[in-house]
Amino acid sequence: MEDADPILEVDKVTRYFGGLAAVKDVSFKVRQGQIFGFMGPNGAGKTTLFSMIAGALKPSSGKIRSRGRDITGAPAFKLIKLGIARTHQIVRPFREMTVLENVQVAVHFGKQAVTGRAAARERAIEALGYAGIDQLANYPAAILSVGHQKRLEIARALATDPDLLLSDEICGGLTHAETSEMLALLRRIRDSGTTVMYVEHDVKAITSVCDRIMVLNYGRKLAEGTPDEIQNDPAVIEAYLGTRARGRS
């Protein structure tokens, strides 16, 4: 099904740092209800591209649209009102607040902008339950383990009631078991109707969870397709593993 106004459309986006193009002419579309991933070796421009979509960095050129609306360079607090939320690669909880208060901030200032305290608490507890950390609601956020803080990132982002969740290396630093739980959580989020855009370093994690993947290399788009297509693409294999040594093939 061709979607006229995709939930996210990145159109020839370029970002220079000095004379160096960290991201160059990258275009792609994310359709509703997918988990769309992008991956690439270190320095491929994943974080730069992610930051531009999340409103943390302005593109040097190109356009970013959501449902036909131009969101290029829009600050994060405006994106939230349009239903676009992010999580952070390095967790950023409000350390002096409880876990619950962290999520309450998201409910109060999210897309629905809930004002009432009781209603906000209720929604926040719901989001914590969804992320599986409701038993930690009244603990100070600072004392949580990394795994739980990552879940708090997810709970906070979900509590803003997003249509599109941007998730940056959410499995970084997690154990094997925690990673598979996190991937299951991403699937549940997708199945409940929120589109997910997922950036990950870990090839195994990203290919196991994504419906569609884009590969970046040296700031350019190298390939895009289903996980199977990507894994069998010679250009992708070359980017990750290099070419065979000469004279041995």
């Binding site: 994060a76 009102k81 897309k111």
Partner: protein, 321 residues
Amino acid sequence: MNASSVVIAAQRVARWRSAPLPWLLLAALAALPLLSPSPNFVRLLFTTFLWVTTSMAWNLVGGFAGQVSFGFAVFYGMGAYTTALLMNTGVDPVPAFAASALSAALVSLVVGVPAFRLRGPYFAIATIGISEAVRVVMTNLSFTGGASGYRIVEHRPFHQLEHYYSALLLAALAFVISALIAHAKFGLGLQAIRQDEDAAADLGVNPYPYKLAVHALAAALTGVAGGVFARYAAFIHPAGVFGFHTSVHILLMPVIGGIGTVWGPVLGGFVFGIVEEEIVASFPQVHLLIYGSLLILIILFEPGGILGGLGKLFRRFRGRR
């Protein structure tokens, strides 16, 4: 006992602890004149209430939102002069106080609009610059008497208790505002900005108007305090109400009591209000030095102030049982 029952018990204790205390304190202070205390003691409490008010006001910006200001004398002075000028044209005290709130809030925008666009220490630096500039202007402004000050002539008999109750009412108002904000949407937004401005923005908080709003609110409260003071003192001068030491006092109280809490600034304001005159009288040359050293000691050893220190003692005591 499992985790959730501990949490529920803690919430019950917090509710029990916080509910009747402010009302009891307010009732006691309101009933105090029945004991016919000396006029000097009433005066001391009057000034203390004004200090408590400014302390809570500063805490809204410096404590909740984490935007440290060295320029609250600007709002105090603006409020004082606004009330003074209006009352001398025949305006009643209450509308004059309201005008003080408004003029201080407007001045807060002049400071905040450019300064809150900057991150880090720039806001604090800007507040010092602006407060000194305003003081110099007021020192040289002829229609307010310049450096020699300005006298307020009120054509009605002086009742000390009228002043006492207006200051008490103002402090109570500041407390209610502070307590309501602390756990409401507005207060959570401010605390999010203090703890991580970018993460707050990523959850939908727009930091700029939030900082402007809380700064204006704090300025308005401080302005009314200045107005109430001016009416009582009947004489104000730029080196007093606009002086840098006024800004330092206002900043010192919440730090002493416990920054970013509801009760800390109240506690700090009371402690400071009661000992301040004694310190100035005993060490007229070096009292600012004493405050400066105190500030450094608190920041080094107990950033939570008196309240933070008490909390630690309480936990240690409970842990030992």
